[in-house]
């Protein structure tokens, strides 16, 4: 499928990036070119090939169940653009 303005609007919404209507056509063109280029992978037969899980040939390490972090509210909130009474605050979310 070819990427058009509507595709750009859709993925921009998924990525929560506002893309003005005026920029969508240009972006669609750029993305089309990149996607057409990456589609050259179709030339490779990957039948039966397991997708790579990690370049590291090991399994995930597991840590003991110990409390050794947290309890640092001031540090966690220090960079917040908005905070109040120990909470982060954001424009009201309607459920």
């Amino acid at each position: 499928m070819s990427i058009d303005k509507a595709t750009v609007a859709h993925i921009a919404a998924l990525a929560r990036i506002r893309v003005p209507e005026a920029d969508r056509e240009r972006l669609a063109g750029e993305l089309r070119k990149i996607v057409a280029w990456i589609e050259q992978l179709d030339e490779i037969d990957t039948t039966g090939v397991e997708p790579m899980a990690s370049v590291v040939e090991m399994t995930t390490p597991q840590r003991p169940d110990a409390v050794n972090d947290g309890d640092c509210r001031d540090k966690v909130l220090a960079n917040a653009p908005a905070a109040s009474h120990g909470f982060f605050t954001v424009p009201k979310v309607v459920e």
Partner: protein, 489 residues
């Protein structure tokens, strides 16, 4: 000799012999940082911090208690979180962010006595090959083409790190390499750039771009310095689940100068279309140098080389689209207010991210989205497995692989800028190694006809940085690269 011209190894000797103090050494570099401010190599300069670090180092040295990097002033790519010091990833979206923690790798450097000159400029979120996407402005290389005064790019994304070391502002710099972000700028600026094996250095505290590819490394002026830096940076970190549990060798001790009997692979797929003849020639020269030192060239096949870039440009943006979701204006950095939370998100991210970052987030979102995941992302991970298998097969017959680092020398600011795909091609020789997670180093090997540095790349087996460094040192000795950026003369 000027203090700023010293290598780390020379400075270590000089400090040890009390020929100069850490304070003098650092002051000289702080001065150089001021003089070369026009390069825009730093986002944040921390000269006071550097001088405090130096004073501490002098106390240690006086007590006969010097550590591996005692008194060595470094530039730190502004992708490493540094406690209490502005950390931006060269992005508007991290406005004002001061991490309440120190990255593992920088903490290790400080624990070895190094000092911090400042946070080096980079491409925004390390996405780029020319250091033009920084919110804090482009970095300029200290190099110029012969008879041409137009400013050149230092390469990227570790462009500020490269410019700082090339311009003799910092003795070495910390960089990160996701698809070539250390090796390509090293090649462009006449430096040694090392990307260790994925898992060798902790990723904890490094602003993530593409988690399965990101790796910390160094830019130095010599292979020996690279070995010194690597030892200080490496080691298992329980806070990073992908960190290797292997012991860290004494990399300097690996520099025996003896590569007799070493088998090095020469992949013919690296002779790409449109590659300048002088790069092909330099590669041949490199092959001759290694042969002359007693190593044996072996023709090898890395058939999927040309598919590495498209593979990378699926995987890296996919991971980035997810890694960068946390920049939402809630807990740190920029917030652009909106009437609803959705408006706030969209406005913050529209204003906070630059064009290239947005482009990659959109591509990444697209390739992961419903209906496309299998065709793009899973396909790319399958091809990636094949690329890694190609290398594995090659390393059954060779010890290292020798290739050019980049298909071209540095270009001028403004060239190649309008076409993202043309820019992506800069990484054609470095990306396959990143996909396979292997260690690789770029060594300055000569100058182009225009008088610009060109690098050769040595690739090794996973976790065999020792052999990579040993071969690199042999190349370095043969190349005897002594050219200096014209800015310094």
């Amino acid at each position: 000799m000027e203090l700023c011209d010293l290598t780390i190894a020379q400075a270590r000797d000089g400090l040890g012999a009390r020929r100069f103090s850490a304070r003098e050494l650092t002051e000289a570099h702080v001065k150089a940082m001021e003089v070369a401010r026009g390069l825009n190599a730093f986002i944040t300069e921390t000269p006071e911090r550097a001088l405090i670090d130096a004073a501490r180092a002098d106390v240690r040295i006086a007590a006969g208690d010097a550590r591996a990097l005692e008194g060595i002033p470094l530039a730190i790519k502004d992708l490493f979180c540094t406690e209490g010091v502005l950390t931006t990833a060269a992005s508007h979206i991290l406005d004002g962010f001061k991490p309440p923690y120190e990255s593992t790798v920088t903490a290790k450097l400080w624990a070895q006595g190094a000092g911090m000159l400042g946070k080096a400029n980079l491409d925004e979120f390390a996405m780029g090959s020319s250091n033009i996407t920084s919110y804090y402005g482009a970095v300029r290389s200290p190099w110029r083409r012969r008879g041409d005064d137009r400013p050149l790019v230092p390469g990227g994304s570790s462009g500020g790190s490269a410019a700082a070391v090339a311009a003799r502002i910092a003795m070495a710099a910390l960089g990160t390499d996701t698809g070539g972000s250390i090796r390509q700028p090293a090649s462009f600026t006449g430096l040694v750039g090392m990307k260790p094996t994925y898992g060798r250095c902790s990723r904890w505290g490094i602003v993530a771009f593409a988690s399965s590819l990101d790796q910390a490394g160094s830019l130095t002026r010599t292979v020996r310095d690279s070995a010194i830096m690597l030892r200080a940076m490496s080691g298992h970190d329980p806070k990073d689940s992908t960190s290797a549990t292997l012991p860290v060798p004494d990399y300097e001790a690996a520099l025996t100068g003896n590569i007799r009997g070493l088998r090095f692979g020469v992949p013919k797929e690296y002779r790409v279309e449109g590659m300048p003849a002088e790069i092909e020639k330099l590669w041949q020269t490199g092959i001759e140098w290694l042969r002359a030192a007693g190593a044996e060239p072996v023709d090898i096949n890395l058939k999927l080389t040309k598919y590495a870039l498209p593979t990378y440009y699926i995987i890296a943006p996919a991971e980035a689209s997810s890694n960068l979701a946390r920049y939402d204006g809630v807990r740190f950095g920029l917030r652009v207010e909106g009437k609803s939370i959705e408006e706030m998100y969209e406005a913050t991210r529209a204003e906070g991210f630059g064009d290239e970052v947005k482009r990659r987030i959109l591509i990444g979102t697209y390739v992961l989205s419903a209906g496309y995941y299998d065709a793009y992302y899973l396909k790319a991970q399958r091809v990636r497995a094949l690329i890694a298998a190609d290398f594995k097969r090659a390393f059954e017959t060779v010890d290292v692989i020798l290739t050019p680092t980049a298909p071209n020398a540095a270009f001028a600011v403004g060239e190649k800028m309008d076409d993202p795909l043309a820019m992506y091609l800069n990484d054609v020789f470095t990306v396959p190694i990143s996909l396979a997670g292997l260690p690789a180093i770029s060594v300055p090997a000569g100058l182009s006809s225009e008088g610009l540095p060109l690098g050769l790349q040595v690739i090794g087996r996973a976790f065999d940085e020792e052999t990579v460094l040993r071969a690199a040192e042999s190349l370095e000795r043969a190349a005897n690269f002594t050219a200096r950026p014209p800015v310094l003369s």
